[in-house]
Symmetry: C2
Subunit: 275 residues, 2 copies
Amino acid sequence: MNRIYVHGYDRMENVRLQDQAQTLVDLLHSDTAFPDGSSVLEAGCGIGAQTIPLARNSPGARITSVDISAGSVAQARANADAAGVTSVQFQQADIFALPFEPESFDHVFVCFVLEHLSHPVEALVQLRGLLRPGGTITVIEGDHGSAYFHPDSDAARMAIGCQVELQRAAGGNALVGRQLYPLLRQAGFDAVRVSPRMVYVDSSRPDLVDGFTKKTFTAMIEGVREPAITAGMVKPELFDAGIRALYRTAEIDGVFCYTFFKAVGEKSRQSQRGC
Amino acid sequence: MNRIYVHGYDRMENVRLQDQAQTLVDLLHSDTAFPDGSSVLEAGCGIGAQTIPLARNSPGARITSVDISAGSVAQARANADAAGVTSVQFQQADIFALPFEPESFDHVFVCFVLEHLSHPVEALVQLRGLLRPGGTITVIEGDHGSAYFHPDSDAARMAIGCQVELQRAAGGNALVGRQLYPLLRQAGFDAVRVSPRMVYVDSSRPDLVDGFTKKTFTAMIEGVREPAITAGMVKPELFDAGIRALYRTAEIDGVFCYTFFKAVGEKSRQSQRGC
């Protein structure tokens, strides 16, 4: 779900997309606020799409946001500047070799990152090492297997399956959302609490029909057309029928459902003393 | 989801199942309370599993609960008596031929009923006729296509698919939850608002692991083994592998997700005047 922030093409469109984006920001971020003075590491900030709401909800926290891509970090810095967010320090770094002292952060925040990693538990173990005892990690991920809709369509499910398979072939996991609990537990976190954040869309919510069903989810699936066909996963006609079926769910009698998962875990003081 | 209330086999078991049942009752019922003196029709009460929380949340309402099965109505009456619920009038009646005057109810409540009907819109139109202008309908349904889990399993999805197909063959629809918005709109209701109620289960919630994942959902799917095999839908080995895979999701690193949908719609005063 890297395309939550998509670009509108006129002013009215922008208003609608901002409504939709704000709805999703509220859904995912509203219950995350770190105390003044606390040190927060955002691991895998990309171009800063989640950094901005993170910083706005925790204006007194000292946030360090890193990404493996120097280009993304530069873009994230520019996007934060443009949004008037000045409290974040950006730097390029690899999540598997982070240049920070052990136990140097109070909180870690990871959003739409584990889906891209072939060894998510190892990444979480690394991040746990950077947390002080008693510190917390917050993880947010989507899950493409949580997508279902009306009218139902085998072709649409096939097209979504192509995205899942391509992400798997690239070493990632598009179904990672449902796995946050076992992943955090395996990485040694305690008191793990997972809460699903379901996006339910029917035609009484035209902002979400347009901004989420069509321009976020279906556009993302549409984006794998060429690689899926090139890889021989699907015939063009079937893939295109799947995309049409997804757009069909955006009509007046259509319904679309998708669920994000948010997990919070603690680095226990006790187990730390036991180490 | 007719088996939300399953029977425990010892006292400790009963406590756990009651915890789980109460969790689901809260999830589905807590925001439904009808005013003192209002007249409420529960259409399709079965053996009264939903009647009891309905009556407890609206102690001053005058509730009439009907079901097409005289045996179920008798059992519902007995169950309500046993639960100390005395404010409900039970009677046998067919939802398509209800023995009430038009516009004689303030509210209608329908829970786990549409899934069994081959013509749900027609049923909703009948119920709308019994509502006074300005009255509301509340509908709750499950959706078996909303079930997903970790570890994922093709065999488990195949076993669930057998239940869906058998219910379809019987004229019902196990995927009706996601369709509540279009169904209520097609039946002429206005101001329809649907809210999903997701049951998320991991091993930090042993009451739900036991009471929902194992004893409600998986037991229900297990219950269609013989008809599914008899109908030639699936080989016994594959079905049994699917059931094992569902139980596997109840282990320490497993996760299970299911979503109920609740819809509230109004019989508009305006469109009534327009008729």
